[in-house]
């Protein structure tokens, strides 16, 4: 999107995490969800986080997404120290710099796709006209120009997730955070969504961080970080990422037929 080349060359990574820790106090028991995470993510990266259940992936995403604060270490978001901000400042950071995509889509029900995508801009104080223009643009990018006025409950899971992606990218965030975005989708739709991310990453130079359990899905990204018990156990470049568009083309036609019927149903 607007990721100008001058910013892209800036040496400061978008995400700089140093020894980040998070402990949940459950009565007497302290749950160490993050035990010291250090990680840098630069502009234009497409990273997958993997790890077994309870390894701290979601906790990490919440901290990166400014929904919560750690209790140790440091987190710099585009050079801004997010670990010391108050509630309102975090809300502002989320609004301006973070795009969330959730496993359960989390669109406002009975609200049109367009209105859902406009919502972050409402909180950013963008005037109505401008809001509409940018929301339409975002929906075009995720290939939903023809579904703008559909309410979220009239859309298929894959379509809802694409609306959610449009909502995430409409503010031109520093990073898109997706916690298991394909977890509720069938395998073909999952590949479609990964295709949308790939397109955003390649053509619009968006920085994307995806949590996934599925190694297949992680193969569409360019770097995989493994979590284990609140620590990073492995961090590796994907030498040869899969191409979602190519994989989709190779999938059986039957699926498409079923999908188009499903989409046509009221």
């Amino acid at each position: 999107m607007t990721a100008g080349s001058s910013i892209a060359q800036s040496p400061e990574p978008i995400i700089r995490v140093e020894n980040l820790q998070k402990t949940y106090q459950m009565g007497e028991v302290a749950v160490h969800a993050l035990r010291g995470i250090s990680l840098n993510i630069s502009r234009g990266e497409f990273v997958a986080i993997m790890g077994h259940s309870g390894s701290g992936k979601s906790t990490f995403m919440n901290l990166i997404g400014c929904l919560d604060r750690g209790n140790g270490g440091r987190y710099m978001l585009e050079g801004v120290d997010a670990s010391t901000r108050n509630r309102d400042e975090l809300a502002k950071l989320r609004n301006a710099k973070i795009g969330f995509v959730f496993q359960g889509f989390n669109l406002l029900s009975r609200t049109t796709a367009l209105e859902n995508v406009e919502l972050p801009l409402v909180y950013a104080g963008v005037p109505r006209r401008e809001r509409r223009r940018r929301a339409e643009e975002a929906l075009k990018i995720v290939n939903l120009a023809d579904r703008m006025d559909h309410r979220s409950n009239q859309l298929s899971g894959g379509q809802q997730q694409r609306v959610a992606i449009a909502r995430a990218l409409v503010v031109h965030p520093a990073i898109i955070l997706a916690d298991e975005p394909t977890g509720n989708l069938d395998s073909r739709t999952a590949v479609e969504i990964m295709g949308v991310f790939q397109q955003l990453n390649r053509q619009h130079h968006m920085t994307i961080l995806v949590v996934t359990h599925e190694p297949d899905i992680a193969q569409y990204t360019r770097r995989i970080v493994h979590f284990h018990d609140g620590r990073i156990s492995n961090d590796a470049i994907v030498s040869n990422p899969r191409d979602a568009a190519a994989d989709l083309a190779a999938m059986p036609q039957l699926d498409e037929a079923v999908q188009s019927i499903a989409a046509a149903a009221p």
Binding site: L67, D68, D88, R94, N95, L108, P120, Y123
Partner: protein, 406 residues
């Protein structure tokens, strides 16, 4: 975030549960409706009392013998009279702010015409009585100063007396009525005046020259009361002070002695009357505020339910950048929209109820735009007050917990 942009959101959220919204705002509706109807009834009553007091005569003062006791009642009027006609003349001569003054005596008895008779009260007064009481004639003419000097047997009839002595209609002017077997020639008829503030029929009266009633009917030398009019509304209290000073001097009262007379003006009468209707107003106001309170609690309750139901929505909004105050504003506006919608319906009901009271119960009412605005405003304030707690609760939610809420 622009508060106006929340309005459609709030409206849609309410429309999702129409029945619930209607039931919730029932209290507000009743509250607003009762405020409007009650103020209308109250001001209607006051308007009527004011009209009645005004009908006593413009800027009128009454002077009674005897001092005022605790309950505001006088010792038997006329029975211990110390007033004389000379007192009245002194008022006319020495009180510059008194425009006119007449002594009054009255005789209660039967007026007879032909085979009709009617029990009424004959007031003996000076001709300026009609001026003091602001009471024009509908027919005939007034008696004169000379009639007073000569104690002429003439009179003017009130409409009620005319209606009862001349049931077949016809012009009574020039005919004679008998009181205590004395024939009084009818000089004229007074215009209809209606009820007094005390509920008495003011038209059930005959007026005759002061001396005629004093000597021929009562056979007394005393004056029961004086009726005066101040030169203007602004000088009522000045006139009252002048009369007080004059009477204290004439009655040779020492500074430590209480007045042996009582002066009442229209404002006093109005106050006494509106005090009783004020109690009524207060009662009605209490009902209205209780309804609004109940309505407010209803709104608070439903907003708390709404916040819980929409926890996930709140989480989503927070995740994409809503600050606490944005959420607060959203729910507050929703509560206010709910209250104002109820208020709007309440206005309709209140106006309708007022019409019903006017045409079915035949009570005087006065719909005041101020009360409508005030009632609508209190509905809005109720919404703000009782919406605040649920809205604060929503604003304080932790985004992560809210997002995870099922």
């Amino acid at each position: 975030m622009n508060p106006l942009s929340v309005l459609p959101v709030a409206w849609l959220a309410l429309m999702r549960h129409k029945m619930r919204a209607v039931l919730t705002t029932l209290g507000i509706m009743i509250g607003v409706a009762s405020v409007i109807a009650m103020v209308a009834v109250g001001s209607g009553a006051r308007m009527m009392i004011e009209a009645q007091v005004a009908s006593l005569g413009a800027n009128m003062l009454m002077i009674f013998p005897g001092s005022t006791n605790q309950s505001g009642l006088r010792g038997g009027m006329g029975s211990v009279s110390r007033f004389t006609e000379a007192d009245g003349r002194a008022i006319n001569d020495e009180c510059p702010n008194v425009a006119a003054c007449t002594p009054v005596v009255n005789y209660s008895g039967r007026a007879v015409y032909g085979n009709q008779n009617w029990p009424t009260r004959i007031n003996g007064v000076y001709p300026n009585y009609t001026e003091i009481r602001d009471w024009p004639l509908s027919a005939g003419k007034l008696f004169t100063e000379q009639d007073v000097e000569r104690a002429t047997k003439v009179c003017l009839l009130g409409q009620t007396v005319v209606d009862n002595l001349f049931p077949d209609g016809g012009d009574p002017v020039g005919l004679y009525v008998r009181v205590r077997n004395i024939p009084f020639r009818i000089l004229g008829v007074l215009e209809r005046k209606g009820q007094s503030p005390f509920g008495a029929d003011q038209d059930d009266t005959i007026i005759a020259p002061f001396t005629t009633v004093q000597h021929r009917l009562l056979n007394t030398t005393s004056v029961y009361i004086f009726m005066c009019s101040a030169s203007s509304t602004d000088t009522i209290y000045k006139a009252q002070d002048e009369i007080t000073a004059l009477f204290r001097q004439r009655h040779r009262l020492q500074p430590d002695q209480d007045d042996d007379f009582t002066i009442r003006n229209q404002a006093d009468l109005l106050k006494a009357q509106t005090e009783s209707s004020g109690v009524m107003q207060m009662l009605l106001g209490a009902i209205a505020s209780i309804s609004l309170l109940v309505g407010g609690i209803g709104i608070m309750n439903i907003m708390l339910v709404s916040v819980t139901e929409r926890t996930r929505e709140i989480g989503i909004r927070m995740a994409i950048g809503a600050r606490g105050r944005d959420i607060l504003l959203q729910f507050l506006i929703e509560a206010v929209v709910l209250a104002l919608a109820g208020g709007m319906v309440g206005i309709g009901i209140g106006v309708g109820a007022t019409q019903l009271i006017t045409y079915v119960l035949n009570w005087p009412t006065l719909l005041s735009p101020f009360s409508i605005v005030a009632a609508f405003g209190s509905a809005g304030i109720t919404g703000i007050c009782f919406g605040f707690f649920p809205a604060t609760k929503a604003a304080k939610l932790n985004p992560i917990d809210a997002l995870r809420y099922e």
